[in-house]
Structure formats: C-alpha cells, structure tokens
Symmetry: C2
Subunit: 310 residues, 2 copies
C-alpha cells in the first residue's frame, strides 16, 4: 500500500463509527481499571491521585499500549495493567509539570490544577506515589515471562530518566531563557514526548509476546507519532498569538512557521503508519486512525473548552 | 543467647575496629557504585542528581540491603545494584522533602538543600529521575531469577506508595495542625521509615536467594530497626527545645518524654537483634553493630556539624 493510499484510508478509519466506538471502548476499559486501582475513601493522598488519574479520559498513551499488544496477537487482559501504568506515569508528569516551580499552571483540561485543589505538598507526593504504583503494577504482571516484564520496565525507565522524560523537562525548563535551535527542539520533543510514546508501544508489544522485528516496527510508529503529537501540540499553542509572543521559545511553529509545522506533521504521521504497513500484519485500523486523530487535533479551533492534553 | 547478652555483645561489636572498618568499606563500595551511575559532565539534571546522591556517605539503608544479602549467603555483587537503588530512593525522598512546599529546609547535612543550589524545578525533576533510575537498576539485576527481582520490586513499591513512604509523608504534612495520638504517630513512623528499612532488608534477602523464613526474620529486623531509627531521630530533634515548642507535634518525645522514648528505643533495638538471633545463622556482627549505632546516635550532642540523617 502506498503512503498516499494509507493516508486516505487512515482518514476513512478515523471518521468511521467503528473506529469511534472502539476508541470509546478502550477509553472506558482503561478508566474502569484505573478507578479500581485508587478506590474512593482511602485517605487524602489517594483522593488526590484519584482525581489526577480519572480526570481527562482520552487515554491516548494507554490505548497505544493496548493496541501494540493486540497488533502482535496478545490479549488485552495481559496489557491492561501495563496500559494503566503508562497512564499513571503520564498523569504524574502532568501533575509535577503544573507545579508553580515548573509550568505554574492554574488549570488542566479546564479544571483547577491538582496543586490548586490539594496544595503543592500533596501534588508532589501524589506524583511520586503515582510513579511508584505504576512500577508496582508492572512488576505484578504474570501473564508473560518475568524476563519480558523486566525488559519492559528497563525500556520504560530509559524513556523516563535523565535521557528521557525528566531530562527533556529539565532541558525545557533551563532553555526558556536561551536561544533554541531546531536541533535542540527536536531533542526536547524526543525526550519529552516521543520516547514515552515509543515506550508505551514497546511495553504493549513485550507483554503481547512480540518478536524483535515487531517490537522494532511498533517502537518506530510510537516514536514518529510522539514527535508528530508534539508538533500538533505546538500548532495548538500557536493559536494563542499572545502566549507565543510571551517567550514560548520552545515552539516548533516559531522555528518553522505554521505551514512548515503542518508539512512536518503530515510527513511524520505518514511515516508512522508506514512503519507498521511494512510488517505483514499491516497497520491495525485503530493505530492508523489514531495517527489521523493527531492530524485532526492540530486543526482544532482555539475556543474549545479543553486543553491540549489529548 | 539472651537479649541482655546480645545488647552487651552488640555494643562490643559497634565499638570494635573490625566493625568500623567493615562499615567504612561498605560505605565506600556503595559510594563508588553510585558515582559510576551518574558520571560528571552529563548535563545539569545529572549534575544535580550526582550532588544529591554523593552527599552524605553514611549509606545506612543500602548497607542494610547488602548485609541482608550476605546474611542469607548471597554475594555482595548481586546486591550492589539493589543497594544503590535503595540509596537513590532514599535521596529522592530527602530532595522532595526539603522542597519549600514540604519541609522548606534550607540545608541538608550542613550544606544548602538541593533546591537552594539548583532551583525547585530541577530538584523536583532530580527526585523523579532518581526514582526512575532506581527502578531501572533493579530491573537490570540478572544475578537471580527474574521472578525474584519482580517480587522484590513489588515489595519495594508497597513500601513506597500510598500505604508507605508517600502515604506517611502525606499524613505527616496534613497532621501538623492536628492533635497527634500515639497510634497515629506509630503509623507515620511505620509508613515513613520502618517500611522502607524493611524493604531494604527484604530486597537484599531476595537477591541473596533467601528462603521464606529468612526473609521474614530480616524483614522483622528491618521494621524494628526502622521504628527505632525514627525514635532516635525524634530524640535528636528534641535536643532543640525551641524547634520542639514550635509545633513539631509529630515527635515521639513530646508524647512519651525523653525517658519513655529512650526505653522504647532500647526495647525495639533488642527485639531487632533477637529477630535475627532466633534464626540459626544468628545476628551477623554488622547487623548487631548497626542496631547499636542507632542507640549511640540518639545520645549525640546537639552541637555536631551534621544533621540527623544517619
């Protein structure tokens, strides 16, 4: 299948009723599983975590993990704890990001940021505990050989540490007052977002029993989708010209313009879907559709009630 | 061996030259391994982590982990990554504890707190990355079966999450303005300190290839030593009468008096050493000596140059 054909069929998928239904089912599956992890009435720390985790049910990253598992023929049941762990880590990064010392965000997805409701101390601890619970959940996976689970944890840690999410955040925090080059921005995008998307796919693949070439293909899809996602984020941010003028120097649109950003976005998404098409299983409709959703979100009008965190 | 005899021999051990030399060797072993984990010249985030991890070389918790491994006949080499992970997590908790939103500490062990040197954002990220690297290091252990490693990670996560370290910190943060009962204080002590000491022992035991009864004995020693350590901490804090009057309501000495605290401390330490004596291997000199060190530190004069963080 050519790349042009893939893009067309991906668009057909993303607007189909089947795709939307399947997406909703996956979202609900993850949300229910998270809900059970942090039962109500378990004290103030768990209450704060519960709020952070249950808010915003789009669940993009855990769905990537589930789909990667299914793509290699694994069962959803095996991947669900891993998917929940991925979402917990994502929410942990948002909670810590929103802190006054970091992005100093007042709101998240149209609701007060966690530290605004529960105070900074509880927000810091909620993030720490979320990270711990995520690893605990991964370590509890028994549906696949223990070596595979350890391998998945190792890969995840690489994506989250000093040469991953935390390193990317640090680079982002420290580079606000400096000139940002295109290379540096790619670096930040990869560390902050693409590595984590990649890890979500790899973990899903590992618990699904993938072979090395399947892991490779899914990792490539994840990394490309992650870079695309970050550019779509920057396109959304660029709608707000005032914010852009206010020193948001780490924005792809500032460096490459709106047209340049959109061209790159389309290119990355097509490459992502192609990465899967080269494998004999092809791109599962949902993975192709998800890539298309990232394209569509970059066109979202500015007056939407929700934030960027698809 | 009776408890009275154990206490006498433990004191002899703790003041012996052999014990002091062995302790120093273990400290240096852990410090060298940590030094290799975070090489200099790897960017500002790693530099901040390096400072946090290399400062204060007492290494009590990782040494517990190493000794537990040796007690069951395991090799130091197998336990060293686990011991480093334990120390990274300990340092992470200190870095986040010291933040303005938490304890708002200006100094740590006589040096400026990490956020005072590198800013709050980098201190938050350094803590997050330390937690991640600790789990990555644990997941890399191949000297024992993968199931054992996963079991150790699970146990550690229990000790760190909402019903462990993070939960204890939250309880501590939230209860400063309330009346603290003896039961609640025991709860905070167990969650904040004893569970982590216990986990350090259990992980050492697991990577050493312990059987269930050995794990049980070492866990009991760790838990009792942890509770004792927290009381010795409170005795140290109580030297500063001004700080105590200033609402430090979560202090054992305020609830039970200096004599009551010291009696309980002695009782817990003797029980800790007995927990190991009941096993046929007996208490290794170093584990008995470490218990005695906790006793000795509670008598430390107020004008020492270092903080409480033995």
């Amino acid at each position: 299948m050519s790349e042009a054909n893939l893009a067309v069929s991906a668009h057909e998928v993303s607007s189909s009723i089947d795709f939307r239904r399947r997406l909703r089912e996956r979202q609900q599956l993850v949300t229910r599983a998270l809900d059970e992890q942090f039962p109500p009435g378990s004290g103030p720390l768990t209450a704060a975590i519960r709020e952070a985790v249950l808010a915003d049910g789009k669940r993009l990253r855990p769905i990537l993990c589930l789909e990667a598992c299914e793509w290699v023929g694994g069962s959803l049941k095996a991947a669900l704890p891993a998917a929940c762990a991925i979402e917990m880590i994502h929410k942990m990064s948002l909670v810590h990001d929103d802190l006054p010392a970091m992005d100093d965000a007042e709101t998240r997805n149209g609701r007060p940021a966690l530290h605004k409701v529960h105070g900074e101390a509880l927000a810091i601890l909620a993030g720490d505990a979320l990270l711990v619970h995520a690893f605990g959940l991964l370590a509890s996976i028994r549906a696949v050989p223990a070596e595979r689970v350890l391998g998945a944890i190792s890969r995840l840690c690489q994506a989250l540490g000093t040469a991953g999410l935390a390193g990317g955040q640090a680079l982002d925090v420290l580079s606000q007052s400096e000139d940002v080059t295109p290379e540096k921005l790619d670096h930040v995008h990869t560390w902050k977002t693409a590595s984590f998307f990649e890890a979500a796919m790899v973990i899903g693949a590992e618990v699904g029993g993938a072979d090395a070439s399947q892991v490779e293909a899914l990792a490539r899809y994840g990394k490309l989708l992650g870079r695309a996602f970050q550019i779509s984020d920057d396109l959304l941010d660029a709608r707000d010209v005032k914010a852009l003028a206010h020193g948001e120097a780490t924005n792809y649109v500032q460096l490459h313009g709106v047209d340049g950003a959109r061209r790159k976005l389309r290119e990355l998404l097509d490459q992502a879907v192609s990465a899967l098409a080269s494998n004999k299983r092809g791109a599962l409709p949902l993975l192709a559709g998800l890539a298309e959703l990232v394209w569509e979100r970059s066109w979202r009008p500015a007056e939407g009630p929700h934030g960027n965190d698809t």
